[in-house]
């Protein structure tokens, strides 16, 4: 019969909680930079400049059709061969940003294309200036349309970020792996890690729902 031993986990819970904080920080930074990459990608894709569009298409397809694990190996182990070396933490952030940027590009492009031309023309007819049109007539409704897909992509990113532990970048999964190497209470440690990730996912989805209530619940008028 297997003897459960949660003692090592309880004694080192502070290490795991600190790891959880590192995962939150890493995810938030990746979301922020990833959003910037996504917007640039979407703008480039809808710009009508052919070579630029092909470049973004290639980026999106390559990233979406290869595993994140291979991407992070390529960035951390492969790129130094061509003179680009990064610390594990930087490589982890870069890999996550590159990854989520590809998915985000597609989501935001769909958002921009979801705004009917007539809506922009209506804004012009009401005498709004181009900046106001972009801000209130394009960006805000587009954001509302894509908000659910964008935020679920962000939560998926947070879960994926556990993979950065394979290059020993600092996060929750790494904290667990370190603890496992010292105490060998493997099942108990990974059970608690899984629960912590679940709570993080729950926390992020609560946060996103709150943001949605504040910014995106004006009358839709369909």
């Amino acid at each position: 019969m297997y003897q459960f031993n949660f003692q090592p986990v309880i004694q080192n819970l502070d290490l795991l909680l600190f790891g959880a904080w590192l995962t939150v920080r890493l995810s938030l930074m990746a979301m922020l930079f990833g959003l910037v990459v996504s917007v640039l990608g979407a703008v480039a894709k809808t710009s009508g400049i052919r070579p630029l569009r092909w470049l973004v298409d290639a980026y999106v397809e390559v990233i979406r059709n290869t595993p994140f694990l291979v991407q992070i190996f390529f960035i951390f182990f492969g790129l130094p061969a061509v003179g680009i070396s990064m610390s594990p933490n930087t490589a982890a952030l870069v890999a996550l940003v590159v990854n989520v940027g590809a998915y985000g590009t597609e989501i935001i492009r769909a958002g921009i294309e979801s705004i009917p031309r007539g809506q922009i023309e209506a804004g012009r007819a009401l005498g709004l200036n181009p900046v106001q049109i972009f801000r209130y007539v394009v960006v805000k409704p587009a954001l509302r349309n894509i908000y659910p897909s964008l935020t679920s992509q962000f939560i998926y990113l947070m879960l994926t970020s556990s993979v950065v532990s394979v290059i020993s970048a600092n996060d929750l999964a790494s904290a667990g792996a370190d603890l496992n190497a010292r105490t060998f209470a493997s099942f108990e440690i990974y059970l608690v890690l899984t629960v912590l990730y679940f709570l993080l996912a729950l926390g992020f989805s609560t946060l996103f729902a709150a943001i949605r209530r504040v910014f995106f619940t004006y009358p839709a008028g369909r």
Partner: protein, 218 residues
């Protein structure tokens, strides 16, 4: 000893593709059975079943696949089974696929207009006949595109089995890299092979989705 990256290494990596395919096939087959059970429970009248299915989906979609793999891997010892990477990966990926396919197929079942179900009930069809001959055939058409899309995610997910020591495509790349120390070439090759597996499926999913949308607009 560091040696050259030779054609034998490329062959080793290419033949490891078969383990990625086998693992994906096992997980997809198991996930199809589990997913159907989850989807039917999730859309059933029975409240307890519905609650269990919802919880299952929430847990597996709300935790990292990597943690699920570790838990099953170390969990095998807890239930007294030998620790085997292939078994652990197959079980974990099957559970993972069950949750995602369950959620996709639930959506498809609920997308079939309720009039269909009501008409079938009016014709005195029981639950089994209603599902088998009326609801599921229509739901299948709706579910095809997202299911193919998930298959891409599943194939990519099998790469994580390398972390618990199962030698599939990614692990084969790591082994060759450790011997040749040509990470740029090795992981470039590995990535290209994944791309060759996944891209056609992505294109197929997109094609199916576009066809579906055209059919709905008619």
């Amino acid at each position: 000893m560091i040696r050259e990256f030779s054609s034998a290494d490329i062959l080793f990596i290419v033949t490891a593709v078969r383990w990625t395919l086998i693992l994906s096939a096992i997980a997809f087959a198991g996930g199809a059975i589990g997913g159907l059970a989850i989807a039917l429970s999730r859309s059933s009248q029975n409240r307890v079943l519905r609650r269990i299915a919802t919880g299952f989906i929430q847990v597996f979609q709300g935790t990292p696949l990597l943690m699920q793999l570790f838990l099953v891997y170390f969990g095998l010892a807890v239930v007294g089974l030998p620790i085997d990477p292939l078994l652990a990966a197959a079980v974990a990926l099957t559970l993972h696929a069950s949750a995602y396919l369950g959620e996709i197929w639930r959506g498809a079942i609920e997308a079939v207009p309720s009039g269909q179900s009501e008409a079938a009930t009016a014709l005195a069809l029981g639950y089994r006949d209603r599902m088998r001959h009326v609801i599921l055939p229509q739901a299948m058409r709706i579910a095809t595109a997202p299911t193919v899309g998930f298959l891409v995610q599943l194939i990519k997910g099998t790469s994580l089995a390398s972390i618990i020591g199962f030698t599939e495509l990614t692990r084969a790349g790591q082994i060759v890299n450790n011997a040749t120390f040509q990470p740029f070439l090795v992981f470039g090759t590995v990535a290209a092979l994944y791309f060759l597996l996944c891209w056609p499926l992505s294109l197929l999913a997109r094609h199916l989705e576009a066809r579906m949308r055209r059919a709905l607009m008619r």
